[in-house]
Symmetry: C2
Subunit: 231 residues, 2 copies
């Protein structure tokens, strides 16, 4: 039961549609503003009814379409409670379960590190890992309450302890790497496999990444679900 | 039970991995030569064993990696019998069934039109439609034994008669349209819905498309499974 994976070529963001097998209901994770019509067209073509829009965190590199999708479809906006996104009606906590489509359940896993509020979502053996765990790598940890220590602990304790066969669907990829597995990442992830916490923290501190170009626009916009004005 | 959909940005080709739910076995459809390592990495990360490589037709816009994948993994190369690809060990006919992964079955549907030999594949409610049926459109019909009449008949009689909920996974898309459904295409496809055969034939005759840039290289290469020399 794989998700439908959609790609934004401009920001290399993956958006996911989770379709309930027994109903028309569907959930979307991390939709991007400029793909609003494309994403709605998928929902229409597949005869789906969008019930929930989930964000893994308040993104710094693109603007979400969560607010617009909510307005157009009536879907509920569900966000990590620690991300400062007040207009969302569902403020998720670690351990929450999001029911949808009659029999489906999405488990909510708080994985601080990329940002303080970042969440991962688990559905039918599929982990939507946001920017916490990428294919062969991980998200940066140098802003929005990011912490290399926290990311290491989140991944070690909460993700690498999942079943090895769990599929890992990342929030971004820049090389066409669409999906991975927990077992492979635990053994081979270039940043996190076989590395001590102190080594990982030193590695992340030495990255010296440039400030995201869109950050000053995207983060405030995403704290408002991508809508121009408070709702 | 969706496939894993991979994209080649250079030729806008979709490649699909079909994973058997009860075993490690997997099938790949329309792999692209330049993505050989990327595709093998997916198979490795997901702990899969590749058993079959399928081609929907002899492509004119990219070179397949079918021969290389066969050599590296031992997968069987399965091609439409009418496409002139002699080195493939499985020459498919309309109505054939490809078993894989213990309990899985892929139905083979001969859909001449884009090329004389073109095939579509059906697995668990998912149609891999090659260039016969695209999202909102269809492939061109002006070379390799292509025929607008044949394409109209193939789509009308063999694809639009499938269950409306059948998901349509195209061979290409240029606008991020990843997936559609038979019901939607039958009602809304810009070229094929609510159009007579004669109208469709006139429409296709008026397209006047340029000759594919790679055709003289790609077609001969693909008739040899993408390998430089006969095997
Ligand atoms: Fe991020
Ligand atoms: Fe083609």
């Amino acid at each position: 039961m794989n998700p439908i994976q959609l790609f934004d070529a401009e920001s290399s963001t993956y958006t996911y549609i989770l379709a309930a097998p027994d109903s028309r209901d569907a959930v979307i994770i991390d939709p991007v503003d400029r793909n609003l019509e494309r994403d709605l067209a998928h929902i229409e073509r597949l005869g789906m009814r969008l019930t929930h829009v989930l964000e893994t965190h308040a993104h710094a590199d693109h603007v979400t379409s969560a607010g617009a999708l909510r307005a157009l479809t009536g879907a509920k906006a569900c966000v990590p409670s620690g991300c400062g996104i007040p207009p969302a009606e569902v403020q998720l906590q670690d351990g929450d379960v999001i029911p949808f489509g009659g029999r489906e359940h999405i488990a909510v896993i708080h994985t601080p590190g990329h940002t303080a509020g970042s969440m991962c979502y688990l559905w039918r053996g599929n982990l939507f890992s946001g920017d916490t765990l990428l294919v062969g790598g991980c998200g940066r940890t140098d802003f929005q309450g990011g912490s290399a220590e926290a990311l290491y602990d989140s991944v070690s304790a909460k993700l690498f302890t999942l079943d090895d066969a769990t599929r890992v669907w990342p929030g971004h990829d820049y090389k066409g790497q669409s999906v991975s597995s927990i077992g492979w990442e635990r053994r081979h992830n270039a940043r996190l496999a076989n590395r001590s916490r102190a080594d990982f923290v030193a590695l992340m501190a030495a990255l010296n990444l440039p400030r995201p170009k869109l950050m000053d626009v995207a983060v405030p916009a995403n704290r408002n679900l991508g809508l121009a004005h408070s709702v």
